[in-house]
Symmetry: C2
Subunit: 202 residues, 2 copies
Amino acid sequence: MARTGRRPGISDTRARIAAAARAIFAERGIEGASIRAIGRAAGVDPALVHHQFGSKEALFLQVMDLPVDLAGGVGTLLAGGEEGIGERLATFVLAAWDRPEVRPIMLGVIRSAVTDPQAAALLRELVIARALRPLAAGLGRPDAELRAVLAGSQMVGLLMARFVVGIEPLASLDRDTLASAVGPTLQRYLTEDLAGVRARGG
Amino acid sequence: MARTGRRPGISDTRARIAAAARAIFAERGIEGASIRAIGRAAGVDPALVHHQFGSKEALFLQVMDLPVDLAGGVGTLLAGGEEGIGERLATFVLAAWDRPEVRPIMLGVIRSAVTDPQAAALLRELVIARALRPLAAGLGRPDAELRAVLAGSQMVGLLMARFVVGIEPLASLDRDTLASAVGPTLQRYLTEDLAGVRARGG
């Protein structure tokens, strides 16, 4: 057989593995996906998947970074200033979930997280460690960690109600209306005095 | 064999079925439980379970009513007046989850709800239809349904973070501190102007 075009290199293989991984994570969730199945779908040896990306969880985090630039999103939100950052955060997250390459993967993460500790650790990593903690820390208030988790609890509950369980009227509310309804909650968790946290200190 | 004591009546059988159902729902979740297994555990014919309680979901709702009196809780919260009702609601829910006969069952409901539409309907029934909607309606603001779902999204997200995924520092925060941190969120959803909802109207 004549070889047409250039020989596939490392970056083609990585891209093919990443595409296969996104499809399989979306279809089966973290728990149901396997390095073996991803290798098979990408047409490569599973050992190569492991060699290039590490564990299944590490692979997940790396392919997830492609569709959503969390660090960039945090930077953009902080650059917009503190005023209204809660509503802009809600809009950013809801818009990301409206993207067809993001929603099925994140649905898989949330579904897996309630039963699988490794998927729960991934959800924590994506929502808290990479997004809300740096956001809260960038705003410079004390108790950034608790603020991040409180904001995360509202966002995850909202995403469950809207996309996982689909509870009306929230599920079909337009994005901007929903963002302005929950924005002040996120704003308060991230930037305002939290009575309970003060009470804990004294 | 001599029969000792009185003959078991309908109410003994119901109580035995209810106890078996609570144990099995707690252990396996809604999805994993079956009328057959509950009948076997209670020592009765599954047909009798069905005859006395109806479907698996109807059985679940009936046995759930035993540990948490939702209608009574809503009445007590409303009787306490509008001021601080968000924080009292958070305290009520967190206290219910600290009861050993409630938490495993509700963990099962939340775990099942993310993958099983029937369990999702149960979660909606318990959180929205029986608790938050009557609470919001009792407070007399427009958009009671949306207010209930927004408050529910915060409560379910909080319960997931605290009890299902166990994210620190939220997971081990004392109940009163946590209730005062999220109380104003629930207060706003239930009683205050929601900018987004106003915008939708005009």
